[in-house]
């Protein structure tokens, strides 16, 4: 059976260093959405919120009447080359789907974690989130930085701060398995 999830609350501190890939966690507190455009804007103009212990959520939500209607995760790999500055400023965790590259794996070392949220689970996400604010609204609904308050969002540690990466291990296994066809 699955062990009881670790309860985390933002802002995050050194407690994330105790997490290991595969641990289930439930995250509460404020998170900030950011996709490609928001990363580029933050690199140029600075981070519009206190980045110390902050959590970034790779998500382009549907917002209607100041409410979160649907807010599932987007593919994190698009932010592979855009995330380094966040950890330098104190960001402790990223949330998204599909995992990230070896560069982020290195950047997270002794600093933070990548938390995977289940793709397509927009209704569950919306049920656990309250809209608290927005930055860069001129980027449009999908690309703006939305501030959500989470209430125990169920996540799993995909990449930890010790160099373990579930997605990387799974890819290697799949590659070896498919390689058997090439030989035949």
């Amino acid at each position: 059976m699955t062990a009881k999830p670790v309860q985390l609350r933002t802002p995050l501190g050194e407690e994330v260093l105790a997490l290991h890939a595969g641990d289930h966690v439930e995250l509460s507190g404020l998170v900030y959405t950011a996709r490609d455009e928001a990363h580029l804007r933050m690199q140029k103009e600075g981070i519009p919120f206190d980045p110390k212990g902050a959590v970034i959520y790779h998500c382009g939500p549907v917002i209607q009447d100041k409410r979160v209607v649907a807010a599932g995760p987007t593919t994190s790999a698009r932010m592979n080359e855009l995330s380094g500055f966040l950890f330098d400023k104190g960001v402790r965790a990223l949330i998204g789907k599909g995992g990230m590259g070896t560069r982020v794996l290195g950047q997270l070392k002794d600093k933070g974690v990548y938390l995977a949220f289940t793709g397509g689970c927009a209704a569950l996400a919306a049920d656990r989130m309250t809209l608290k604010g927005v930055f860069f609204e001129d980027l449009g609904m999908a690309e703006a930085v939305w501030v959500f308050e989470l209430d125990r969002l169920p996540l799993v540690v995909g990449i930890d701060s010790h160099g373990s990466d579930i997605f990387g291990d799974v890819s290697k296994h799949a590659e070896a398995e498919f390689g058997r066809y090439k030989k035949s």
């Binding site: 699955t2 649907a70 599909g98 209704a123 169920p154 799993v156 890819s171 799949a174 398995e177 498919f178």
Partner: protein
Amino acid sequence: MQITNPVCSALADATFRAYREAVIRLPPDVLRVIEQAAAAETSPVARGEFANILQNISMAEKLGVPMCQDTGVPVIYLTIPPDVPLTKELYAAVAEGVRRATREVPLRPNVVDPITRHNTNDNTGHGMPAIHVKPGEKFTVTVFPKGAGAENMSRIGMLLPSQVNQIEKFVVETVYLAGSRPCPPIVIGVGIGGTFDGAAAMAKEALLQPLDQMTDYERGILAAVNRLGIGAMGLGGDFTALAVKVKTAGCHTASLPVAVNIQCWANRHATVEVKR
């Protein structure tokens, strides 16, 4: 086009209702294979993903909201009885139902011009909704909203007639190349034979068949896919795919078209009878 014919108004209404049903509630056979996989999964991480998926499904139903923010593009199948003439107004009625669903469910406006990328904001456009018509006894509309994450991972191959035993490899390769991106556990529709376009159409139609009834051939491909171990959301596990469904058609003796249409776990579709 103004909808004046009462039969067409009824079709627009049925399209709207089928769309709403499709994005909020999964068909019973799809739910069954997800539940069966959730119960059989041995990886603790993947079990957590299945728990989230099942909770999301019940939450969407409870709140009456779409289960995924990608509410897809409208793929429509009409069954037309002998006494209903196939007119342009029928196509316009389906588009009207799609526009209403976009406003009222609401759906995310996903349809854009392929070159200018201009969004029509109502999920219709030139040639969209994609409408497929078949003769039948009852007048029904099936709405199959197709999201991009999984659709983008689909492939077609014009294999050699001597490569019949390579079909499984082609399907496994498609899933391997897709990795975590189509939001596994996936459903795999395979069209074998026919023509280039026909194989793709069959692959998509295969996804509408009952997922809890598979032939030995389909089960064999499913087992091969699941040996990849990609698992739910690419986090590893026993179920990279939930089901494989195959449709075949006669083809040229010098051809072997094989199309693989990938669908995420949310294999959403609903059929509504048009009330007349």
